[in-house]
Symmetry: C4
Subunit: 310 residues, 4 copies
């Protein structure tokens, strides 16, 4: 039956069943609460994605580790070939000799090549020529990765911590606020809001796309209060906070914009659960003008005041 | 006549005639079964495409080969100029001298420059200065290619091996399943499915776009069962497996999505032939919930069970 | 009331209130006259955006400064370890020794490595190996940033300094001219023009999207006169220059195009205030033909002549 | 009057007036026959565009020239500082000394640094440290440019040399053929065709968008015959070759596609003048099948045969 309401149905690709109460499909930070299991390692593997999205500390840690391991590996080879095939080495004992080989390797892989120590004879020269090629290719890769990491548009959209049910014209509306804390301009910002609610006495969930007062803005230089008017067509009509709790509602926000500085589309997601919705509150106006400029106090994004609902 | 059914006709750019039976326009891996011939080499040539799409083993093999050939070439030049124009060479015989020239070349093209061997006099210096410039440009190119290869979004969408004809509401549907095995999020996923069938007693083929229950999902964090309902408007209405075989049907799937980690659009294709379609089977539900998270067992993507068709 | 005219209302994300007269939301150069305050430093921070959009002189100044500071830092470390751990140093006094350490550091971080001075012993070698790795990563980053800066499509669209109210067919029109002074082709150029005007006796502003004679051109090889016909549906109908001044009108122009040479979308903005609008002027035709070619004199983009309004 | 036919009017941004006969707005190779004049040099300048679109021979010539000039410049500085501040120089006369300085500069800017010659003392060291930094930044830039040049999708679409007027169903059609000679897949290919014709006894031109049998294909693996049916709504209805000549018609083709290997949109343009249109010819079918594969003989793209027009 519910299936027939095809126009009102859109599961956003999140799946239909979610029996447990207090379930959240989209986390506050926009990640999905969904785990894909039993995927073979090599099918799941995506080096680029992993290396571009890992934390900076992990990324540099990995590079340092790789640098050490590769130099250790090549030092061993030079040591086996014999340090007498490296001119200028001064170490006497095995440890000093290995160290000379190790730092010779470091000077080779970075193409530093001081030359105090230099390879002599075919085997040492072949290894050194190979190592320097490997070094150049590795740092070529690192260059690409660093660019990929750095240029990845980081759409750190800030969402108000709570959504509100506030008066809107002569009805009420579901509202939350967003701001772009960064200097890069976001253009053609489009917002989608949907709500998923458990069906009565069932594990299944209904998904409803919420109509917005304004779905899209051309510019986004300041702050935007996104409004869903609770009119006669709204799935929220006549619902109160108890109902939302009972239906284990989840409001899923999805935002898409063009980032002018990177020239790329950026996406952002967040969600609101019933305990993050204030009834009978409205957002405070946070702009003021001085010297012909408009100032927006972004730190007040969460500020609300009492409001009498219609 | 068939031409007049313009709305139902869309050859997707695949061409109309395909007389032989068992023909497949789109292979399982998404490549096209079409060969373009008699194109002049330089018009067909696309270095970037070739170097970015070739296998990693071929790519590194090519770089190694190029490194060897270029060093051999420059070693020959240094040898002709005379190894006495390289300071510090220790080789006596022609082979040793050539080897010194060869590894001097390697140390020059990688800008390693140990300096044990160094150029002296105008000719050797000119060659070395040119070679180091060439080296830098070559590795600049390699940097770009490695980035191009690495950042290319690899949309390894997994399609269920078989499609099924399963009950759907009070009718039946043509269904297959897809999953994204990787961690990168695919957004705004759009699917197109069409079927091409031989006309009775003719070499020509008709193409039909199949209407889908849902053509587009905003998120794609888990698994998606794509459904074409076989309703009164479906070109599959009243057709059985024998008909599909006789008409040499081919179901062509085309998928398009935004890859969040690379910031690029990705495309994927696949196809189903009659022997890859199960009648009266339906896909098994593979999600379960634990600790407020949803788990999707991707390894069960192909799992079906018997179902009674309407 | 005004709120109800939803179709005519679009604040473009610029906010509604702007009490002071002579206010400008979008500056001539396309930047926004809006300041976001009280954002924590690390939330506001966007290294890539900052480094890609700063002036070239600042960018190179920063790199030079960083180069000096890092070398000073490493020179201090080598000096503390003791210059006797660097072979080949010739300086005697502390200043000369520090200088040797400083330039040894420069030779290490750039992977130049002449080798006249070279590290000896564990501590100096560890520092040098670390410094050369740091150098490679830094220059990898600089490579990416330079590419990012260079490839950023600079849509230096030239707008006519003034807009005009000129006769158009049997009515009048609001017109301005744009040209692309550069050689890169802009394709699929789309223009949006809106006007914001203060409401009578109120701090609030109304925003109106202006209908254009042509909103979009496929090619943009020459000059384009953008025309808003002041017909019966225009919010400018019956308005004169005094009204525009009183309502503190602002015409906001937003342009979007595909830049063929960079393969990216480019955006451009500008605005016109009442003192930048000429009544009863029209733009002069600036194209001429010679030898089958059309010539456009871009320097005459601002040239107007008297015209009798309808 | 003509202005009122707004729906049929679309000048594609090419300008309206083109008095001379035999005029061509878009050349066969897709460039525009339009010259923008009197643009100040620095406004016109777009380094990235220039360096990315110039010929490979020019690009490498420029790099070689720059390499020579910069080394000559630094050699002069080292020579002025005094070659005695470079250790290991062996030249005696001024020319030999300058050469030593020149190649020392080359070894410094490429960060080769053999070390046979090395800087000594503050002035030489400062210059060398600066030069090596400059070298790294220059090659960083070259890396970006090479990547930009290489990754720029080169949509070398091949258009049939002539268009034809051929029978189409029970009417006739204006047709031409296109093929993608390269291995990279073009997806979602969209074609626009318009015709510009001089008005009778006027310098002005009318532009008409031509309706196409199929405007868009999802795949483009082989060859595509683009067809404009000359039906009752076509601006070509009842026109013959003489009329086309008299009206100095120009058919402008514009094509847009997604290039799968580069992940970018590519654009291509071409045009047909009356002398490039064959009346009463039709394109020959150039596909054949072998071993379940379809072969397309691209070299026969221009092949036509006589056809009786309706």
């Amino acid at each position: 039956m519910a299936r027939l309401k095809k126009d009102h149905f859109n599961d956003f690709g999140l799946g239909e069943k979610s029996p447990s109460s207090g379930y959240r499909a989209v986390n506050k930070d926009g990640s999905f609460n969904i785990v894909k299991t039993n995927i073979p390692f090599f099918e799941r593997l995506n080096f680029f994605h992993a290396l571009v999205t890992m934390k900076w500390t992990h990324f540099f840690g990995l590079i340092l580790l790789g640098y050490f391991v590769v130099n250790f590996f090549f030092a061993t080879i030079y040591y086996i070939i014999g340090v007498e095939n490296l001119t200028g080495t001064r170490g006497m004992g095995p440890f000093e000799q290995f160290m000379e080989a190790f730092f010779f390797s470091a000077q080779t892989i970075t193409t530093l090549g001081y030359g105090r120590v230099a390879p002599l004879g075919l085997p040492a020269n072949i290894v050194a020529a190979t190592e320097s090629l490997l070094g150049l290719l590795s740092f070529a890769l690192a260059t690409g990765l660093l660019y990929g990491r750095f240029s990845k548009p980081s759409s750190r959209i800030r969402y108000s911590e709570k959504a509100v049910i506030a008066p809107y014209k002569n009805i009420n509306g579901f509202m939350f606020r967003i701001a772009n804390p960064q200097k890069n301009q976001l253009l053609e910002v489009e917002t989608n809001v949907s709500v998923s609610m458990k069906r009565k006495g069932s594990d299944l969930r209904n998904f409803h796309v919420l109509e917005l007062e304004r779905k899209r803005v051309v510019f986004f230089p300041s702050m935007w209060t996104v409004v869903h008017p609770i009119d006669s067509k709204s799935p929220l009509l006549g619902i109160d906070l108890n109902d939302l709790n009972e239906k284990d509602a989840e409001f899923i926000v999805s935002l898409k914009a063009f980032d002018e500085s990177s020239g790329q589309m950026v996406y952002s997601r967040s969600s609101y659960k019933p305990n993050e919705i204030e009834w009978g509150q409205k957002f405070v106006y946070v702009a003021y003008q001085e010297n012909g400029k408009t100032f927006i106090d972004v730190s007040r994004i969460n500020e609300t005041e009492d409001a009498i609902l219609n």
